[in-house]
């Protein structure tokens, strides 16, 4: 069971690094060895930072936004996916061996048309396969060695946004646009049961589209809790504003235990979730006016105990040292909003940053 009281002093949480990039980052992952953080960007690049000494390498090859980056536990391979449905498996040690800067390296393998958009990926608990999910509603398995198709699990009939593997390795959880979270038996590939996170989906009569979804998933280290992130009560399909929320379920019963709301006023979905070692839940969201927050919910709490205001972030990855976490983030650049507000030469794209927070003494 998770601790009844948090053991992490949230007052010590602080930003320790903000690693700039020319475009917003869409995803990130810390390597199992702890030396690297990989990120995918809107400029179609895979970024690989070595943390100490700090070095940045940029790998081209994708032809659309890089939406997924996941390390394998073999400490050698890294899977990336993009919004053209392409998967690429990299030998990240080979990338790291190249001089910092732009790196020309071929992927170990590549699969095109894996999905229409790749939205999520995890390593299969057996270590021999990758599991991916996309907006085509499909969960697909791929041989880790060569990228050949290794199975397909069907059970969602709408877009998928999130995947998570249960700590016991027996279950995979998948979350979709309609707020359904299926719990799959990894051995059989069958749905065992589902969690009802439908409040995270909104489709009013005058909407032209479904809004929301189970945008993020996390399972507590002891496997007893499932956190599903997104937003409730979307007001429109235009600004897509809603009330950011995390639905906390008991894994064993599927019962909704509580709904967590961020302390800071923000209007976008929770896109990053991670349980810290003591059961504290970290949640990262978006906000249209660029003021979002990284929030920390102690075990059993319904309210955030600590909030750090910052630009929108699109995920969370825990560092294996148990003391740091990374956020793939947005960084404003020049004036935005409606209209020009700048001369042609001054109209520039927004930037990104990999932001690293430390929540315990190193």
């Amino acid at each position: 069971m998770i601790a009844a009281q948090p053991t992490i002093d949230l007052k010590k949480v602080r930003e320790t690094q903000s690693l700039a990039h020319e475009r917003p980052l869409m995803c990130c992952a810390a390597s199992p060895c702890g030396q690297f953080v990989a990120a995918g960007a809107q400029d179609e690049q895979l970024l690989l930072w070595r943390l100490d000494p700090l070095e940045k390498r940029l790998v081209q090859g994708h032809a659309s936004w890089v939406s997924v980056a996941v390390f394998h536990t073999d400490r050698r391979h890294l899977l990336t996916g993009d919004l053209h449905g392409v998967l690429r498996c990299w030998d990240y040690q080979a990338v790291a061996a190249a001089p910092p800067g732009s790196v020309t390296v071929k992927p170990v393998w590549e699969t095109v048309d894996a999905h229409r958009w790749v939205q999520a990926a995890v390593a299969h608990p057996d270590g021999k396969r990758w599991i991916t999910a996309g907006i085509d509603g499909e969960i697909r398995l791929w041989n880790a060695a060569d990228g050949k198709p290794a199975g397909e699990w069907r059970g969602h009939d709408t877009e998928l946004y999130s995947l998570a593997v249960h700590p016991n390795g027996q279950f995979l959880l998948s979350g979709d646009l309609l707020g359904r979270v299926h719990i799959w038996n990894v051995a059989s590939g069958q749905i065992e049961r589902s969690l009802d996170a439908k409040p995270l989906h909104t489709r009013k009569d005058d909407f032209l589209a479904d809004v929301g979804g189970a945008r993020s998933l996390a399972i507590s280290p002891d496997g007893t809790l499932v956190a599903v992130g997104g937003m409730t009560d979307a007001e429109s399909n235009t600004f897509c504003p809603g009330k950011p929320a995390v639905l906390m379920f008991e894994f064993s019963s599927g019962k909704l235990l509580r709904t967590l709301r961020p302390k800071q006023k923000s209007d976008g979905p929770i896109k990053g979730l991670a349980f810290l070692a003591d059961g504290t839940l970290a949640a990262q969201g978006e906000h249209l006016n660029a003021v979002s927050s990284l929030e920390f919910f102690p075990p059993n709490a319904t309210e955030s105990a600590h909030a750090i205001t910052r630009e929108s972030g699109y995920g969370i990855s825990l560092h294996p040292d148990g003391k740091r976490l990374a956020i793939p983030a947005f960084a404003p650049n020049g004036r935005g909003g409606n209209g020009r507000h700048a001369n042609p030469g001054e109209y520039v794209p927004n930037k990104g940053a990999l932001v690293i927070y430390q929540y315990a003494d190193l």
Binding site: R23, L208, T238, G336, P344, P349
Partner: protein, 429 residues
């Protein structure tokens, strides 16, 4: 029923319809197309029977996710560009069906309208006049209800299919007067009360109408004639619509058509619009709301754009197959485009500086792209066109000489399109 017209304003509800003709007593109606062009030319315009299908995506469809993709550029977004039926012309992968019909379309990629606000942008673009003249210009549908010869079918010349409630939209007419307003069909349904109660037979109906006309005649002696005329004409058109209930009988629509257009509102409304165009309605406007993706732009465009792509392709096919593209002008546009810059919520905001629209049908070239944007899509590269240019072009396409025709409002001559703008010659056939 007479009480429905309060202060010269026809209210929503029953079949209160717009005009059939341009009575000389109307202050906004001194102009007569035959007086300008001569009887022969006016007769030719009448014979040509030009019509317009005007599709309005309220807010702004992203030009980068539709007609002017810039993949793999700093503002390009995640989608691919795909080839169209015209070599060298590419659209976003979100409009594959329209891409196959590019050979029937004219795409303007250098609209630059400068107004970034909904509150003023909608009226400015749809009234077509960038200049504040102290009067409310008519929306395009009202303008053409005035400028085109009245159709022989006596159907309301300006009908507006929209989500939500219907009614009579007198405001669209601006200074032309209420009778040039739009008959709005909420959800594409006919006006309520279009079906005469069974208890009222023909003689009784005729007697009631005669009484109404008599009372209206007495009522108008002390009041502005145009208001009463608009109200009376609404009844006349109601009578015509009552004879065409078939236009709203969904049971006659082939299931294959429903499948091609789609069951979502825009699909249903464009199919209904096609039926009205086939019946000869002069100007049919179809509005779809909620095209304003400040947040989650790419997921929303991925869901929304197919809702215009498929039915738009279907209506182009159907008009072409029926030989109607030679006399029907189709316009597909928004208030503005969307910012190249992608915001923190992965949205795009309002961008009037450089955006695209699509034309097809009578009077316009087929398979052409007019204007271009910079490599990153942010600004026009070369000539820019405002809504004044667009109105000149639309008027010319349907046969109205835009620079030689004027409204006369209470004795004041007013250009039908901005005098500092001109038609976009490259668009016109």
């Amino acid at each position: 029923m007479l009480g429905a017209l309060a202060g010269g304003v026809a209210t929503a509800g029953a079949a209160q319809l717009a005009p059939l003709a341009m009575p000389a007593t109307d202050p906004g109606a001194r102009f007569n197309i035959s007086s300008l062009l001569g009887p022969a030319a006016a007769a030719e315009m009448q014979r040509q029977g030009r019509q317009v299908l005007f599709i309005w995506l309220d807010g702004g469809i992203s030009q980068l996710e539709s007609w002017d993709p810039k993949p793999r550029t700093e503002f390009g977004g995640p989608f691919r560009a795909i080839p169209t039926s015209v070599p060298g012309v590419h659209f976003s992968e979100l409009v594959p069906e329209t891409a196959k019909r590019m050979d029937k379309l004219a795409v303007i990629r250098s609209m630059s309208t400068k107004d970034e606000n909904h509150s003023t942008g909608v009226a400015r673009v749809q009234r077509g006049d960038p200049k504040n003249r102290g009067v409310d210009y008519p929306f395009l549908g009202s303008a053409l209800a005035k400028l085109l010869p009245p159709p022989a079918n006596n159907l309301p010349p300006y009908m507006h299919i929209k989500p939500g409630r219907g009614g009579f939209q007198w405001q669209d007419a601006g200074f032309l007067g209420a009778k040039y307003g739009a008959l709005a069909l909420g959800e594409g349904k006919p006006p309520i009360h279009i079906f005469r109660p069974p208890s009222i037979d023909d003689p009784r109906d005729a007697a009631r109408n005669a009484l109404r006309r008599q009372l209206n005649g007495e009522f108008r002696r002390e009041r502005r004639d145009s208001d009463v005329a608009a109200y009376e004409l609404s009844y006349d058109m109601a009578e015509q619509l009552m004879k065409r209930k078939d236009l709203f009988d969904d049971s006659t629509v082939p299931a294959a058509d429903v499948a091609r257009y789609g069951s979502h509102p825009l699909g249903r409304h464009l199919l209904q619009a096609r039926r009205l165009i086939e019946a000869g309605v002069q100007f049919v406007k179809v509005t779809s709301y909620h095209w304003d993706m400040h947040g989650d732009n790419f997921n929303m465009h991925r869901q929304l754009v197919p809702q215009i792509d498929r039915p738009f392709a279907a209506v182009i096919d159907d008009l072409h197959d029926r030989g109607l593209l030679d006399r029907v002008l189709v316009v597909l546009m928004s208030e503005f485009g969307r910012t190249p810059k992608i915001n923190t919520r992965l949205g795009r905001d309002h961008w009037p500086e450089a955006w695209s629209l699509v034309l097809a049908g009578c009077g316009v070239k087929r398979g052409v792209v007019i204007g271009k944007t910079t490599a990153n899509g942010a600004f026009c590269d070369g000539a820019e066109y405002d809504c004044g240019h667009l109105f000149h072009t639309i008027f010319e396409a349907v046969g109205v000489p835009s620079s030689k025709t004027e409204y006369v409002n209470n004795g004041q001559p007013l250009p039908i399109a901005h005098e500092n703008c001109a038609k976009i010659a490259e668009v016109l056939a």
